[in-house]
Symmetry: C2
Subunit: 308 residues, 2 copies
């Protein structure tokens, strides 16, 4: 099966702590490396975990609070200084372009690769990236400033036919293509071998939804329904529900509720307030509602499984 | 003696490595905490080394290459989020104000403390900070974009008179003030006690010169003459002299030459190119010219001694 692996680079909320960095994640789908948010020191985290950052060609920034993008201009500078010439795509609020360009101007710097800006429209289900393997769409989140989540989906794979089957039935190229797209095999004597007996089982396309930052908002449910992994912020414990609402954030309990109502396969929580040194209570609270929950932990990778 | 202590937070040049962060230093003179440059992740380094960043009231930025200021907006944000209300002074190129304000604007953020900008004039010996204990002046450096170094100097301390001397001669307040400012004591019987026999030895004011980034330029010598500690960048080994010149940087050999010609008491080198994993050759090269050289090492503090 192709790679579908998420690595956490930072899982802190607004202020970093001595143990946790601000938000950033690296998602590898079939060797496409997507960087999701880019808090301060993301380039240092990438080096620390030995992840080659020149392989990143697409960066998705959810919103313009600093803990989600302050590391971007440094990463772009280092990509340039280390010789990058490959085009880079930035999916972000439109204003980020001005923030980057003003810094390049005042440092009298030129970046030796093209940056293609894809400004967010802040509409649901907007297809912002697509190639033969993956598509990425937006989810509008409910935060203090305009904010987008993202859903990364594999495209359905063509069925596979084993070498043994090809050999047994002496299949021609035309027959292989026909079977891959669903046809049965009709032998010369008229016998029919059904498609399901010719192909290797094909997994359902997997999906990952990234929701940070947002208050509890059930309007996202229809867009994240049944995803294989949901990352949802859980800045506070439920005892801080009022504070969560005031700051347009979510509690661990509420993140569990969203996961349950959307019938996702697995939940990862993160974006922890600096007040929580021990994350176990956040995990326990989310699990009290939605059992298959894990904590975002820096440096850890999670392979997104297929539950079907 | 009052504190005069330098702590290195980052000593890498343009690109951070997995072991070294971009430039930042914390200087404590008599409990004034001066932050000198603020590369990416400076706030994380401050936390890592358990240095309370709310005590910093004055930040000096040498120039607008990102490895010297990309950590500033994150530090300011965290100061705000953690409740700062105390005014902060920023000594920096004028354009930095626009860079900070545009980011506050687009994040719809307000910072709850006043930032007082002191834009560099880029002239030598410009007095940019002064209080009863310390003064700070600029040195114009020779870099690809306008760049300032800084000289931090203690002010001369008034002479001290021991309790025993005050008791022995039954000194009045008027006599104490006169003696502290240099007068001899004339006793009632006409005997003269010379000033030097009344006062405790007072150390000469100490000084620290910070020079980063710059190519080899002897025009700085007159301003840094005889300082107790000179920090001078040493991005490359002498075998890279041409590259150093092209990029307006200095070699370790050249940093040693500057220290020798300025007759400084001690030299610290830093701003190492990411190509050097082992720093021993840089140290050896600088020491071949100027023996009393040390390496800038992250997390290490150096107490600036009085050599007189």
């Amino acid at each position: 099966m192709q790679n579908f692996e998420l690595t956490i680079l930072g899982c802190s909320s607004a202020t970093p702590t001595s143990k946790r960095n601000p938000t950033a994640q690296l998602l590898n789908i079939a060797e496409r490396f997507f960087l999701i948010d880019c808090g301060e020191a993301t380039q240092i985290q990438l080096r620390r975990f030995k992840l080659k950052f020149q392989r990143i060609n697409h960066i998705f920034i959810s919103h313009l609070h600093g803990d989600h993008y302050f590391g971007l201009v440094g990463l772009l500078s280092s990509m340039h200084l280390l010789g990058r010439t490959v085009e880079l795509h930035l999916y972000c609020p439109a204003e980020l372009q001005e923030i980057i360009e003003i810094q390049l101007k005042h440092s009298q710097s030129h970046i030796n690769f093209n940056i293609v800006y894809h400004p967010h429209q802040f509409i649901n289900n907007d297809l912002i990236f697509e190639d033969e393997r993956v598509e990425v769409r937006t989810i509008v989140l409910n935060h203090r400033i305009p904010c987008c989540g993202f859903i990364f989906k594999e495209k359905p794979l063509m069925a596979n036919i084993s070498k043994e089957v090809i050999h047994t039935y002496q299949l021609s190229v035309e027959q292989i293509i026909a079977i891959k797209t669903g046809a049965d095999l009709i032998k010369e004597n008229g016998d029919v071998i059904y498609n399901k007996d010719l192909i290797t089982a094909v997994h359902q396309p997997r999906s990952y939804a990234y929701c940070s930052d947002t208050c509890y908002d059930e309007r996202i449910l229809e867009y994240i329904q049944g995803v294989d992994l949901l990352y949802h912020e859980a800045t506070f414990l439920q005892e801080m529900e009022i504070r969560a609402k005031e700051t347009f954030h979510t509690t661990a309990f509420q993140a569990g509720m969203i996961a349950q109502k959307a019938a996702v396969k697995q939940l990862m929580i993160g974006h922890y307030s600096a007040r929580y040194k021990d994350l176990a209570p956040l995990l326990a609270e989310a699990r009290s509602v939605f059992e298959n929950t894990v904590l975002a932990n820096e440096g850890e990778s999670l392979i997104i499984k297929n539950y079907d």
